[in-house]
């Protein structure tokens, strides 16, 4: 079983397996009703049934087609791939390769791809939401769970004390009190931390630890810790597919846009020195870039599907 799965969900799976069996006994049904009477259990049960509903099953018109497609063999594709790429893949050995695989987040605990936000839950039930193109590793700091946000943004509603590490090299760390909602994100070279409800103790790369109270948002970069004018709602606008920028250098803005854009977005020339404030929607990024190009004296050039340059 997945290690991070809450007990209620594990039990929901057990019940699904038991109730699928031949006609359940009355005693078993009574036991299920008692289990289901707990709201947390009922919620887990409903979530599992919803998932199963989306997967389709015996009785839906296309169940046979689903089963048939899922039986299509995988092996010949693997063989063709091995033959097609020859020895190329064997060249990826050694520290560089391993580090790169780690950097890609292929082994991260939570990982989202470009344009896809995600949600998760820690073992103690702490809910976690994360932005597109985000990688988070789960570890422990003594008895505290420790979330390492390697890339992207997260929003966590801590049930108990929680350690946060932000940036690929954990350049900023924080300890969050139970009950606090904390949003943290990396944009370009800067880290944004916003707190609601509880408090957090921030450890910047330089200088003394700093206490953040509810309602405070700060920005940490090589120059130190500065208060940010963004509200908690603005700092978490990504949960609704929006981005609120407050005097953000264009390269950093493009870095944030990149979570919703397959390919590279880069600023060059005078455009790279501009700072932008505004509210942007992330769902249709081409429209957002177009809007940006109309409002500012910048040019957009596209190089294939990979590289878009703003100058």
């Amino acid at each position: 079983m997945t290690a991070a799965r809450p007990a209620a969900e594990r039990e929901a799976i057990d019940w699904e397996v038991r109730l699928r069996g031949a006609t359940p006994e009355p005693g078993e049904l009574r036991a299920f009703a008692a289990w289901h009477a707990v709201p947390e259990h009922a919620a887990a049960w409903a979530a599992l049934q919803q998932r199963l509903g989306r997967m389709g099953g015996h009785g839906v018109a296309h169940a046979g087609a689903i089963a048939q497609a899922l039986r299509s063999p995988v092996q010949e594709r693997r063989r063709a791939l091995r033959a097609g790429f020859g020895l190329g893949a064997l060249a990826i050995t050694g520290w560089g390769g391993l580090r790169a695989v780690h950097a890609l987040g292929l082994d991260a605990d939570w990982r989202s791809s470009v344009g896809q936000r995600g949600e998760g839950r820690l073992a103690d039930g702490t809910p976690l939401r994360f932005d597109a193109a985000t990688r988070i590793d789960l570890g422990a700091d003594g008895a505290m769970p420790r979330l390492h946000l390697r890339q992207g943004q997260l929003l966590v509603g801590a049930r108990g004390p929680l350690a946060l590490a932000i940036g690929a090299t954990a350049v900023v760390t924080a300890v969050v009190t139970g009950g606090a909602h904390v949003a943290a994100g990396r944009v370009g070279g800067r880290t944004l931390v916003a707190v609601r409800d509880g408090t957090a103790t921030l450890h910047p790369p330089q200088g003394k630890p700093q206490r953040l109270d509810a309602g405070q948002t700060v920005q940490v970069d090589a120059g130190g810790v500065q208060p940010s004018s963004l509200s908690f709602a603005a700092a978490t606008a990504w949960t609704h597919g929006m981005l609120v920028a407050d005097r953000l250098p264009l390269p950093d803005l493009l870095d944030a846009f990149g979570r919703y854009h397959p390919g590279l977005l880069r600023a060059g020339g005078a455009a790279a020195t501009r700072s932008i404030s505004g509210v942007f929607q992330l769902v249709d990024l081409d429209a957002t870039l177009h809007q940006l190009a109309q409002a500012l004296p910048i040019e957009i050039e596209r190089y294939g599907r990979f590289l878009t340059l703003l100058t």
Binding site: E9, I13, A61, A65, Q68, A69, L70, V74, A168, A295
Partner: protein, 176 residues
């Protein structure tokens, strides 16, 4: 939207990174697109796959750790190609099977697209299981067979079938 002109702090690392990426793009994009073309046989698909591989390469923060960019690109491209082929196989087999079901009403393109997305998700989840566990789950979920019948077909015990089904449910249901 308003804008103000201020000079951002110098950021040497992103500049290096950008340089690394554009150098690598110029050096290897054509090579990768050509290798992909040989493999998948279609120029457009090959370019899409090569672009996607670069996009993933660009997502690596610790680019200093990349000693052999082409080897890494190859590894990424292999995975992307596998996923691309797998999606096509699933879609083809699904549509074939649907076409052979005359009683099935015509699904809209959107519905088909969603169904294939779902297939890809289920397939990726089930691929982590053993062949027997996968088959046990397909028989239970999509063919409505009881545990005893599945056990007989697969030559395992009923309690093993229950374990298989539990494994599959766990794999297919992302933890909340």
């Amino acid at each position: 939207m308003d804008s103000a002109l201020i000079t951002p702090r110098p950021r040497p690392v992103p500049a290096l990174r950008q340089q690394f990426l554009s150098t690598e793009f110029r050096r290897s994009y054509g090579w990768l697109a050509a290798s992909m073309h040989r493999l998948v046989g279609c120029r457009n698909d090959a370019e899409d796959l090569a672009s996607s591989a670069f996009t993933e390469l660009a997502a690596i923060e610790e680019f200093e750790g990349i000693r052999q960019p082409r080897a890494l690109l190859t590894t990424i491209a292999r995975r992307l190609t596998f996923e691309f082929w797998r999606r096509r196989d699933l879609e083809r087999d699904y549509l074939d099977a649907l076409a052979r079901q005359p009683e099935c009403h015509d699904a809209s393109p959107e519905e088909l697209c969603l169904a294939v997305e779902e297939l890809v998700r289920i397939d990726a989840a089930l691929r982590r299981l053993s062949a027997r566990a996968r088959e046990a789950f397909l028989l239970s979920q999509y063919e409505g067979l009881g545990y005893a019948e599945i056990a007989e077909r697969l030559g395992v015990s009923s309690s093993m079938v229950r374990k298989y089904v539990a494994q599959a449910l766990d794999a297919c249901w992302p933890a909340a």
